[in-house]
Amino acid sequence: MTPLLSVSNLRVSFGRNPLENEVVRGVSFDLAAGETLAIVGESGSGKSVTALSINRLVDFGGGKIISGTINLARTGNSILDLAQASEPVLEKIRGSEIGMIFQEPMTSLNPVLTIGTQIEESFRLHRGLTGKQATAAAKDALDRVRIPDAARRLKYTPNQLSGGMLQRVMIATALACNPRLLIADEPTTALDVTVQAQIMALLAELKRETGMAMIFITHDIGLVAGIADKVMVMQAGEAVEQGALGDVLDRPQHPYTRHLLSAVPHFESGRAARSDYARGQSEMTSPALRVDGLTVRFKVAGGVFRRSPGSVHAVENIDFDLMPRETLAIVGESGSGKSTTARAILGLVHPTSGGFSTHTGRIAEATDPSVQMVFQNPYASLNPRLRIDSILAEPVIAAGGRVNGETRAKMAALLKRVGLPENCLERYPHQFSGGQRQRLCIARALVLNPSIVVLDEAVSALDVSVQAKVLELLVDLQREYGLAYLFVSHDMAVVERIAHRIAVLYAGEIVEIGDAASVLSNPQHSYTKRLISAVPSIDRRNQHFELDTRQVPSLVRPPGFEPPVAQWRSFGPDHRARAEV
């Protein structure tokens, strides 16, 4: 039987010198109908370009297929080489035979058209439906991706739907004409874990229903385990290893595959939690940071003739303390208030009530040099026009110090400590990679000898293997300088590697807090359970994700609303969860 898609010796390049800028260098694979191929690789490995070459969208990004064939078996046993096909033929194939979903659902849909119009477009173009027929078909498409109340949702514009809902709309559009091949380019990377689990479940179910083949591109090898039949690992434009799922994951042959598998933090349900610190034993010193009833509310703007509908209760009555040398991870999904908590502690957001104290005393308006922060995006957190020495000197200048030989020596020593060459003081940020920039940010946070470092999604923007190295560095620095970390993250696998204690945030409130091993292995609150079961893991092969269409509750409360006092239940010496009604 001929395969549905057969790619052989594909070479793709960009720019004026096609031979110098080769991005995909001789990739070959076959895909049978109904099969799922996962392409795994880090950024710049050529995985997306490979996929975009199949429906020739790569042409629009300035790419060029230099050699190789992409044979697609069409209905009626004819075979078409997509690498040679003309644009009019390709336009027919895109959408009707090859569907595609992209990484960012928020920007893949036109914000000024209703989603109904956008789904109908596909039916009009490929099936010639018009008017009521197209609307009915669009409603069926939304029903198929399990969007409740589909008829009404057709009239929504994209801004009225959440990210997960929009990705379902994208899937509905891609599947409108029953394509026999679906290309999914990191379809869940921009989504929360629990939403990711829902989308994965949906894709798996639709695949079973329709029998289509799928190419699934991802950097997360944990997700691969859940959905793929075959895996192809790419590095620097070459397919270094490919084979059946079990073979690649359990018996990796190529050193890069082994490296990927060992470097990626896998979630192990608390078994990999750190055990180098336990509170309440020998030194019961005073906490480095104590947060009491921290509450942040943002007033929703009203109009001239409209009263404000209330406030967003972003963070509600949060208490915790943080010991020296301890890491407290704050986990939660987008909108749970975890970043707002971090920003309030840094003085970037004013708390509505409650407060916090460090061992130096209460932090008032002014920022406290003993608390420093590392931000999520290493590309945005360094001023591109300043040299590294000016960047590192800024905290010193801000604290009223002078830049002299001593500070320069300290900066050089810190750079060496975070694993960067000393000569980078004279360079500019754009000359560094993402991982190196994050090391620079860490060095900058340490210049003032802080006792507490707040890490807001500090490794989330990095490639997996770089992530592991930065985490290692953070653990080493914590031991060496006796730092207390407040680690804000959505990634449970990363949290498991670095946290001693975990606080789970949901809708602005802590729902569960305790030592990492206990929370991760024995979650008590229903939300924590849901969060942990949604984490993809290499051990969960071909698992059946459950469909769950629950939405996060709105945080907008009417003026004067005060939440009820929480009841807590204890589950061990250092593990408690909010009692559920």
């Binding site: 002014a366 920022t367 420093q372 957190s381 801000a398």
Partner: protein, 277 residues
Amino acid sequence: MLRAIFSHPSGRIGGTIVVIYVVVALLGMFDVTPHNPLQQYRIDRLHAPNASYWMGTDLFGRDVASRLMKGVGQSFFVGFCSVTLATLAGTVLGLTAAWFGKAWDGLVMRIMDVLLAFPAILLALLIIAIAGPGTWTSIAAIAIVYTPIFTRVVRGPALSIKAREFVDAARTFGSSRRYILTRHLLLNLVAPLTVQVTLALAWSLLTEAGLSFLGLGTQPPASSLGLMLADSRNLMETAPWLLIFPALAIMISILGFNLLGDALRDIFDPRTRRSAA
């Protein structure tokens, strides 16, 4: 930077014109001219261009070449001063509007909207009609006319840079407001500002010539390109050199600044930058 300008095709032409223009302007300003621009050579009135009078003489027997150099110097002085003032005012207003936001932002931007609602030359005329003609009032008028453009050019990018994480980072260190505004915001605005200054110089030359042409800018007997054009109107047919040389000077200098501005915009825009790094 200079190498980048001169390797860009329109930058090479624009840059050369601007360099020549500035040299001529400086020579004119410091009276290094072939003849005294105010001296009236009565015998040689309306003399066609020759070896002594490169661009001929005017009705009063004054050397056109010398007056042209003086005029270029005058227009450069007015343009340079007014654009400097507009840049300073626009940068301060735009930065503070972006940083403080709210009422101050609303006030500043609405005033700028009002100024922008008038055509540039009309607004300049209005200001001069109130303050009276003269070199310094035309400098002030042109500066006021071009301030809104700089305010907008600064405020837009400043708003987006303000939301970047390195500004948040600076706030967590407790960096002073002045440090953040100058090192983080202003430094990242150098590129758009440079382009805008070059283009504004071209416009201000044109506005100055227009005002002088109408008799509201530089006053006779001092020389300016617009004034020379106005004087040549009645003699266009008998002495075309009176019209051609000042008109060419205005045209070429504006072309030069515009080409240079386009080149700078290409050089600063990372999307059009070729793989130089």
